[in-house]
Amino acid sequence: MTKTLFLGALTVAGLSAAAASAATLDDVKERGNLNCGVSTGLTGFSAPNASGDWEGFDVAVCRAVAAAVLGDSSAVEFVPTTGETRFTALSSGEIDLLARNTTWTFSRDNDLKFEFVGVNYYDGQGFMVPRELGVSSALDLDGATVCIQTGTTTELNLADFFRVNNISYEPVPIQTNAEAQQQYLAGACDVYTTDASGLAATRASFETPGDHVLLPEIISKEPLGPLVRHGDNEWGDITRWTLNALIAAEELGVTSANIDDMASEAGNNPEINRLLGTEGNLGEMIGLEADWAKNAISANGNYGEIFEKNIGENTPIGLARGLNDRQSEVGRLSSEPTYLRHALSFHNNSVHHAGTCRRRDLVAYSQSAAKSCCTGSDAELLLSVQPCRIRYRHDPHSVHQC
């Protein structure tokens, strides 16, 4: 009996999981904010500032998606995730989008049932050595002691690289990047290896960065990108094309400085017009407002601006665009070529009932739920104490139905 009940509960949970995942867009709109998983702290990619606002390259993706969907780049609830908790948080529905320097791999895409919506940073594993060692190539590292974070793909890449090149090394296992910095500076190892972006950030924090060199060899491919759950194609499309819109904006020369002018009326370039919603109906096709891409771009600027502001050459991290430059330059980054020329497969997005207020939302002490449940209906939010008091304009006594 108990067993049956338990299985029954599991089935119900499973069914409702499917139901919930099928309408992430509706959930986000109803909630009034986007739950976005980020790293608990990675220099340049995601970190809270002194007043508690999250900043960084990955954070910008979250803000752009929130701006595209809700029209407000601050309507994001950032959920700090660790390497262990990130995938569970996504698959359980705790977060709607994971933007946490996650490498796109076969097993994560297929076995863990996620959908990578694109690549926002092409990374790769590199080496850092003190300049006084006089090493100019990773092939000279025979017999070196190497600081390496355990339990990561970098550990395997390192072993492969040294075996293929038939040279020996001695690993010094460490846990975190902070520990690695200390060990490396204290001379516990000759070489530190991790993702090149991480190495650059680490070197920038040294007292004398010039005393350390990054070796030219990049020994692995680490395409990092945001991801969503399998099974909700509409939501996957929204995040994919939001990222693409940022990249396309840079290709088309749309920046946060000129976007207001460009979006105010249709210009000469039909692609820009379609992107910014002054022509065509891309917004309607994707189930969003016509100005979705404009909002996404205005949130933090186009891809190039986001890059320069958070990790570019003028920041202390000082990463060059490299692989992450436009395809027209030397990089491989591009928005899908079909972006504006071909129509997207049309899908009929389920209608969002913005006006139905459920009583449950109001006693759940959720300001945002109450706000979103009254948006679009003929009602007003009266005060900020929860549960909020709501009065319909046409009938002041209708509070209890809300």
Binding site: L42, A89, T176, P316
Partner: protein, 437 residues
């Protein structure tokens, strides 16, 4: 021989008392203390000199590092510039990070205009604990202690005042039902004391709170527990788990020592399972596994899940500590209570537990101190406790490369809290001392 007799022997007889004199220089003051304590033999003298050298060596390393004029600076690179400009070594602390981020380390992402709420909550918590901790406070103050949890909940999380108030009313209803029915039948009274509040909470609290909030919207701005962080998160988890785990642990210990088969076995199974698995596994269970069992969309608060897990974990340890206390009470005390005709609960309440708990005080406080420090493990499930915030702070470009300053600050905070608990337990032991051993 006779002339010897006649010889005047001039004995000296002192006519007045000598003034008191200072003891010799080597037998008084600092010199005496030094001689007796530090240089009483050549070996001790040698050891003293070696120890002094070691102390000087350590302090000469730490003090210049600590004494660093970097309080007002805004980033690590500024610190380095200033220290180089002063012509000093750069092996000095950069305290600017504490000035810049101390509020974050204490309160996490709690809105800064509401910092008074956790601060006031701490004051109320200490005031509410006072009558429990110190016997000299008037007993009516206990009523205030009983109301404290609801006030704390309201202050920390906010929301309308009515929900915590009604939950409290439910408890009062339970007490009233018990008082009213206890004359009729004890078992019925106990059942009523449990069922009445539960029914009240399940079916009446929500609608009544809703109506009341509509008619009289009194309350504080709601702050979700996602915004809790820093030392405040450690204190919230630690204090809640400490307060909840003590009664639970005592019940488990009594259950394990009980004669009733099912009660004993259930207690043993619970204690052994919880104690046999590391805390970090339970935390992962709370954060990861439960997500799959709960229906999606139910955002069962992660902080609450963690508090529950930490409470259960510490209760298992407390149960074993109290069991040790129970075993140390002489058998004669149990038999004496029986021979007086006391019921099981009366004998436990009046005779056995007061003695057993007194014996267990060092063990209980020890468990609590360990529990409080273990709250930093939540960093592994993505909650930003003080240690989690260090990596977040280090990830900002201003402070990348900062290391020891943050840990020193956090270490001092934890030391103050844990040392305070330790001193309290010593004081309590002395106060409850009854033997003349």
């Amino acid at each position: 021989m006779s002339d010897t007799d006649s010889e005047v022997i001039s004995f000296f007889v002192r006519e007045k008392m000598l003034e008191e004199q200072e003891p010799p220089l080597t037998e008084r003051g600092a010199v005496k203390w030094l001689r007796e304590n530090l240089f009483s033999s050549w070996l001790n003298g040698l050891l003293t000199i070696v120890s002094l050298y070691v102390i000087w060596y350590i302090l000469s390393g730490i003090v210049p590092w600590l004494w660093s004029p970097t309080w007002s600076l805004g980033s690590l690179s500024e610190c380095r510039e200033v220290l180089t400009g002063l012509g000093e070594t750069t092996h000095q602390a950069c305290w600017g990070v504490i000035r810049d981020r101390w509020q974050q380390l204490l309160f996490g992402f709690y809105p800064s205009d509401a910092y008074w709420r956790p601060t006031l909550a701490l004051v109320i918590l200490l005031a509410g604990l006072a009558p429990v901790l110190f016997g000299s406070i008037p007993r009516w103050f206990l009523l205030f202690s009983a109301a404290t949890p609801f006030v704390l909940f309201l202050l920390l999380w906010g929301g309308p005042i009515w929900t915590p108030l009604l939950v409290g009313v439910g408890l009062v209803l339970g007490v009233v039902a018990f008082r009213y029915l206890v004359g009729v039948n004890q078992i019925v009274a106990v059942l009523a004391a449990i069922i009445v509040p539960v029914l009240f909470w399940l079916f009446l609290v929500e609608p009544i709170a809703f109506e009341l909030t509509y008619t009289a919207p009194i309350g504080l701005e709601f702050i979700p527990s996602k915004d809790f962080g820093g030392f405040m998160l450690s204190v919230v988890i630690g204090v809640a788990a400490i307060i909840l785990s003590l009664p639970l642990g005592i019940m488990l210990a009594l259950g394990r020592a009980s004669d009733l088969f099912i009660v004993t076995k259930l207690s043993v199974i619970f204690i052994e399972i919880i104690r046999g698995v590391p805390l970090i596994v339970w935390l992962f269970t709370a954060s990861l596994l439960l997500n799959y069992f709960l229906p999606p969309g139910t955002s069962f608060d992660l902080t609450l899940r963690v508090i529950i897990m930490v409470t259960l974990f510490s209760a298992a340890y407390i149960a074993e500590v109290v069991r040790g206390g129970l075993a140390a009470v002489p058998k004669g005390q149990y038999e004496g209570a029986d021979s007086l005709g006391l019921s099981y609960w009366q004998s436990m309440q009046l005779i056995v537990l007061p003695q057993a708990l007194k014996i267990s005080i060092p063990g209980i406080v020890n468990t609590f101190i360990g529990l409080f420090k273990d709250t930093t493990l939540v960093v592994f499930i993505g909650l930003l406790d003080p240690l989690g915030l260090t990596s977040a702070i280090r990830a900002s470009t201003d402070w990348n490369g900062i290391y020891w300053e943050l840990y020193v600050f956090i270490g001092v905070l934890f030391f103050i809290a844990c040392y305070g608990m330790g001193r309290y337990s010593l004081w309590l032991e002395t106060k409850l001392q009854r033997e003349n051993r």
